[in-house]
Symmetry: C2
Subunit: 357 residues, 2 copies
């Protein structure tokens, strides 16, 4: 899988947005992070002033993980398929959050352990399915080499489908019982961390579960160590079809010059893979939030992304990214709608030169 070279967000639009922030009727910098977000969005859109995003799209990548059978999750694997049904009926958390934020939600069955013919939903859900579940990564490969390619192609295709349908901002979410285990392994493998430092409580495991998860991560990490610098091999040995598809989705979003709000640990791990596959892709992303998972903070540091929110969330589904979406929209609207000092007849700072008209 080769991605074309990533074109960075537009530098002229970036400079224009910085300059515009100095002319709007507020002290420069007084909107803090909102100013930076507005500048980033402007650079992604390539024109200043920017316009509010009109079709933000969440894609939830659903997949099961063989490792779940090893007691690493508080929930049974069947919850993955049950939640796919609930995303379709609009009753899950990400549905409410996305509705509030003005975003649409699509769920894609990449590797759910069920037969989609038995009720897996419309083609938008099922057409990119790679396999039923990914392998138990403490003992076996997650995927074959062909399946890695298939999953990456799925992610590229999904990004293209959404952008071609008009999506102007993308969010990757995920649903998969057990998926924080491969995500933590991937982060540890890529940055050389010890197993115990990346073990989090996922959806809320107890202490015994934490120990089982730590053992699974340790065993998987041993299998992954030879491949730390090879993201494709990592996807095969300790990844998963859903995570590989997400990684390609995030990389392809950058190829298509479409900004992305990242979610928590699982998306963060996929983002680290994506940045390896398509260096510079991260310039098209912002981090929506910091999850409570320790490996997520490591992934954010590695990607040099500062999260917008820090609300103690750990649900996944894209929820933390969607929660930050209104702030991104606000950041854009400020640049798009506010008056300049000159337009508004407002006096500038004392002792400062008169603003240019």
């Amino acid at each position: 899988m080769e991605f074309p070279e990533i074109t960075p967000p537009d530098q002229q639009a970036h400079r224009d947005a910085v300059a515009r922030h100095e002319q709007l009727i507020k002290p420069t910098g007084s909107l803090g992070r909102l100013e930076e977000l507005g500048v980033w969005a402007t650079a992604c859109q390539g024109v200043c002033p920017p316009h509010p995003f009109v079709r933000p799209q969440v894609v939830v990548f659903a997949g099961d993980h063989g490792i779940a059978a090893h007691g690493v999750s508080a929930y049974p694997s069947e919850v993955t398929q049950q939640m796919v049904v609930n995303f379709l009926s609009g009753k899950a958390a990400v549905n409410s959050l996305a509705a509030a934020a003005g975003a649409a939600v699509r769920v894609v069955d990449v590797a759910v352990d069920w037969n989609p013919a038995a009720g897996g939903g419309p083609p938008s859900v099922t057409q990119h399915k790679v396999r039923r579940s990914s392998g138990a990564i403490n003992r076996q490969d997650a995927l074959t080499e062909e399946e890695v390619t298939q999953a990456l192609n799925a992610g590229v295709a999904i990004a293209n489908e959404e952008v071609d349908c008009g999506a102007d901002l993308l969010v990757a979410g995920e649903m998969g019982i057990g998926n924080t285990t491969p995500a933590a392994v991937l982060v540890a493998a890529m940055i050389g961390e010890e197993p115990v430092s990346v073990v989090g409580r996922g959806s809320g495991i107890d202490d015994a579960g934490w120990m089982r998860k730590a053992a699974a991560i340790r065993d998987a990490l041993r299998r992954a160590r030879p491949f730390g610098g090879d993201p494709i091999a990592l996807m095969r040995t300790v990844g998963g079809a859903d995570i590989a598809a997400m990684a390609a989705f995030l990389a392809q979003a950058a190829v298509r010059r479409t900004p992305v709000i990242l979610d928590g640990l699982v998306v963060g791990a996929a983002a680290m893979v994506a940045e390896e596959l398509a260096p510079g892709a991260r310039q098209w992303w912002v981090a929506g939030h910091r999850s409570v998972e320790p490996a997520h903070t490591m992934a954010l540091q590695h990607l040099e992304l500062e999260p917008i929110l820090d609300l103690g969330m750990y649900l996944g589904e894209g929820s933390g990214a969607v929660a930050a979406l209104p702030l991104v929209q606000m950041a854009v609207r400020v640049l798009a709608e506010m008056a300049t000092f000159t337009e508004a007849g407002v006096s500038g700072p004392l002792g400062a030169p008169l603003p240019a008209r």
Copy 2:
């Protein structure tokens, strides 16, 4: 000014919301702070599940401060009146943010240093005017005793007007060149802090301005020290008509059982006064954000409020509160719209008792 005893938010609705969060199809606690916010909003509304707020209202309290003539602000005082005009024309930051969040904005001239007959806007802006500017608090009282009463009455009246017109969530914002100086003095006086620890850069003063502001705060604090435990006397000696009106507005919101999102330092200082005037009022408030002003963090700690956002903002106008409004709405929608495990046919945690229907 005597406020009636504050009725706390509904405890049964609070318990119902906590219980509902355990039944919704997500790990309990996985939405982090959003869950707490939803519970708070439910308790304020008094019924579970809650409904999204339908008429959030921002009120910007505008007032000038004599202390501005002592070089404590980066901007000239005339900016206060210029910004009132811009709030009315919808071109200020809070207008964009509020429009994005679905809130209306009203601006009230409490003590702007202009003649409202000369273009101060409609009666909703001018009818509660107390005086032109408040006194330079390093050397003189901000207000007379009668003006304090008048300002407090204005705040009560404004809260009543908004709630009577259907506002179901309130935000107090402020506009007033120099107003972080009395705000910092109030915080320091109420919690016994040293002057230097409460001096912030306001709208962005340079080092020389910082020193002038520190001197002004020191002198005002000397005048305030005898009145640390008497909020009415503090309003008179080192407050301001706008801050007094805001304090009464925040207290009256609680009297009217209407939740509030607090903004930054100036609103925070008013909130500390309000909590003195109407103990328990703070149960009806959440802190929208943490501003960069050091005294704001002290005010939040004193009120035992944890801010939702921490985005390095320091604009005022209610901007930090309005930025948090979409998260409050999301928190409510999650409780209102998500399915329960039983409704959705989703398996609960492994080893957990079956959820009650």
